[in-house]
């Protein structure tokens, strides 16, 4: 609560220096930055040490889906937004559609080749650039090696194997479950991404909405099947109750992105050495497809007085080796910068994961994530409706496939009500 109060006072005085640029007035320019990820402040501190003429002032805000995005949007609307914000790729279209972002093409174009191409695509529309990529979220399966041994299962290669393993675990111990169901749009989106489906597309200046596509339906039916047999739980992932269940040996694995690794190791230090990471289970044997969950860009919010300096910092934060190393260590990111993916920090064994170099798995996953996935312009609404439906399905009200079809309809309706063109 205290931090919230101090944030409010920080954001209340966001009027930055009025000198035209970093070099002109001789006075250092101050650029404000709002982020939700833990550890961004460390990169800011590194920058401030080496760049006296552009001072970056960092404020920690809540994660996007629990109010952080609303906070930024409100600040933009009230015309007192910071210069920089951290926004997930999934919500960028949302921010662009509400006119909350500055087009930074003229300052950012030169940095294009420093990033993995699909992350750059995710941060731009056509040739207009709206953000500087920070990280990606390649997916894999985290699992408890000791418990897998106990129940005599090996990391499942296919989703069929996964279902069989879920059956085996739960039969052996009625209080133990292999994993939890997808909780929200980003879980289901990542699983759809792996299965080769797409939720959105743009053609002839119209949006295509295909949330209820065959691949998503396949994923939805698969998880509903496990839910009907009561072989999976529907606990929210990575929260207090989830950590407790993992601690008690009641949950054995988690299919999630690379950034879950530090969350697990920080919250469950006593389980050090009992974890490993395996590639995601596949829909057919021999495939290597992976999904991507999350990843974000640093954006310049509407009304920023110093877009050039702001972009300069954002590019540095995502590409400077010291900064990226710090982000890998403290934030648990997997870098979007090609140079970052070569750093020793993402290529070393981890004691927590029993000496495994987990980044090998994530590197392969990143390489096997299909490009061309597009997020829609009303993701806040999609996420809200999907989360609601999936939570209820988990509690036995309605089903996951029904949620998918109803979110398809509510999304088309929401887009049309704003006057967006939705085509077939």
């Amino acid at each position: 609560m205290l931090t919230v109060a101090s944030l409010v006072t920080l954001s209340a005085c966001s009027g930055s220096g009025d000198s035209g640029g970093s070099s002109s007035g001789g006075k250092p320019v101050t650029v404000e930055f709002w982020g939700a990820a833990v550890g961004l402040d460390k990169s800011v501190a590194l920058w401030n040490k080496s760049h006296p003429d552009i001072k970056v002032k960092y404020s920690q805000i809540p994660a996007g889906s629990i109010g952080g995005y609303a906070k930024m949007q409100n600040a933009v609307k009230a015309d007192n937004a910071p210069c920089l914000g951290q926004v997930g790729y999934d919500t960028l279209s949302n921010f662009i559609a509400t006119g909350a972002l500055e087009d930074i093409s003229q300052y950012a174009d030169s940095a294009k080749d420093k990033f993995v191409p699909w992350t750059w695509q995710m941060s731009s529309v056509g040739d207009r650039v709206f953000g500087i990529p920070v990280d990606t979220g390649p997916m894999a399966m985290y699992y408890r090696t000791d418990l897998f041994k106990k129940y005599k299962i090996s990391p499942p290669k296919t989703w069929d194997d996964f279902a069989a393993a879920a059956q085996k675990v739960h039969s052996a111990d009625p209080s133990a479950y292999l994993t939890t169901t997808p909780q929200d749009a980003y879980d289901l989106g990542a699983l759809t991404w792996q299965a080769g489906g797409k939720w959105f597309g743009t053609e002839n200046d119209r949006w295509q909405v295909t949330i209820a596509n065959p691949q998503t339906s396949k994923v939805a039916q698969y998880w509903q099947g496990l839910l009907d047999k009561k072989l999976v739980t529907s606990d929210p992932m990575l929260d207090t109750a989830w950590f407790k269940k993992v601690q008690d040996g009641q949950l054995l694995s988690l299919v999630s992105a690379v950034w879950a690794a530090p969350l697990i190791s920080k919250n469950l230090p006593e389980l050090s050495g009992k974890w490993a990471v395996a590639p995601m289970p596949q829909w057919s044997a021999g495939q290597k497809a992976a999904g991507n969950r999350g990843g974000s860009a640093t954006v310049v919010l509407k009304g920023c007085d110093h877009p050039k300096e702001a972009t300069e910092f954002a590019t540095w934060m995502s590409t400077d080796n010291d900064s990226v190393t710090s982000l890998i260590k403290n934030t648990g990111i997997y870098p979007a910068a090609t140079s970052g993916q070569q750093l020793p920090a993402v290529d070393q064994p981890s004691a927590y994961f029993g000496g495994q170099n987990i980044y090998d798995v994530f590197k392969t996953a990143a390489a096997n994530t299909s490009t061309g996935w597009v997020w829609g312009p009303t993701m806040s609404q999609v996420q809200s409706d999907m989360k609601d439906g999936l939570k209820k399905a988990g509690a036995g009200q309605g089903t996951i496939p029904k949620t998918v079809t109803s979110v398809q309809d509510s999304t088309v309706a929401a887009m049309k009500s704003q006057g967006l063109s939705v085509g077939k």
């Binding site: 609303a70 662009i96 559609a97 529309v125 606990d235 109750a241 806040s380 809200s384 704003q418 006057g419």
Partner: protein, 316 residues
């Protein structure tokens, strides 16, 4: 300047009338001077935001194509209101809160009245201690209390669930059937003490002669309470009811925190949550519309209750 404070005049109406003066022009000027700070703040902090919300509710944002160009704001008339009245999720949130209020408010105020009467009774011991204990939950910040309750309710960590399991009962406080009752319990826990204090203060103000006379006439403690004390605190009961109606209509903290752990608490569980969600998905005009509808309904309910109680003979 008179050295008299306004409070004196209220406490001694006779003295007040003796000191009555004919207001002159100088008085009007000083009255305006004294009222100006209030007037300014009242306008800036209350009237202007209300006006702005009403104004916003008559507009709509339009985009075109892919929505990546600038958007325009167009006059929408009552369209937003029509949408809200047809919005089944928004409407059912009202019904939910109404159902909760009908049960929870009387239970809570009954409990508050009972506790106040017990504290006020002759036989009560450790009055100060109990008064503070009852009032304690109100002193806790609402969100902190809600987070605490969410741990007490969440099936995997709840001590209650664990204790009940020991005696063979499987109770999930966050299940669809129980979650509303669980929220009601949180509200009762937080607000009973506050309401008790208001009623208790009113009990303190009853002249001793009244209760003594009743006792002399042979009334038992319970009958004194029923025939003398409760009628005397009627205004306090009406006041606390109006407060509770307004508070319940704006129910936010408890469901907002529980939504993190309870699958059935949706983002549109209560009218304020639904409004907040509209703002979250950048639909500010619709959020303004929902706020106006909620404010109107709250006004109708609380004002209607006041009128209803005043109509019933004795004025409160």
């Amino acid at each position: 300047m008179a050295t008299r404070t306004p409070g004196d005049a209220l406490a001694h109406p006779i003295a007040g009338s003796a000191a009555k003066r004919v207001p002159g022009r100088g008085h009007t000027r000083s009255a305006v001077l004294f009222l100006a700070p209030f007037g300014l703040l009242f306008t800036a902090m209350l009237l202007a935001p209300i006006g702005y919300a009403v104004y916003q509710s008559f507009f709509r944002t339009r985009r075109s194509g892919l929505g990546l160009g600038p958007s325009t704001t167009v006059f929408a008339g009552f369209d937003n209101y029509v949408t809200a009245l047809h919005d089944s999720r928004f409407m059912s949130s009202f019904l939910r809160v109404f159902t909760l209020g009908i049960v929870q408010v009387p239970v809570m105020l009954g409990l508050a009245l009972l506790l106040a009467l017990l504290l006020d009774s002759r036989g009560a011991v450790f009055k100060k201690f109990f008064r503070q204990i009852y009032f304690l939950p109100y002193a806790l910040p609402g969100v902190i209390a809600a987070i605490m309750w969410s741990f007490l309710y969440a099936p995997s960590v709840s001590p209650f669930t664990a204790a009940l399991r020991h005696i063979g009962l499987e109770v999930n406080f966050l299940s669809d059937d129980l979650v509303l009752a669980s929220i009601g319990n949180m509200m009762t826990w937080a607000w009973t003490g506050f309401n008790m204090l208001i009623i208790y203060s009113a009990l303190q103000a009853i002249p001793g002669e009244l209760t003594e006379a009743a006792v002399m006439d042979g009334c038992s403690g319970w009958r004194v309470a029923w025939h003398v004390k409760i009628p005397a605190v009627r205004p306090a009961l009406i006041l606390t009811t109006v407060f509770s109606i307004i508070g319940t209509a704006q129910l936010f903290n408890e469901p907002a925190v529980l939504s993190q752990v309870a699958p059935t608490v949706s983002p549109t569980y209560t009218p304020i949550l639904a409004t907040q969600q509209s703002a979250d998905i950048n639909n500010y005009n619709y959020a303004a519309t929902q706020s106006v509808i909620l404010a109107l309904l709250t006004f109708v309910l609380s004002f209607g209750f006041l009128k209803f109680t005043q109509r019933k003979g004795t004025f409160a």
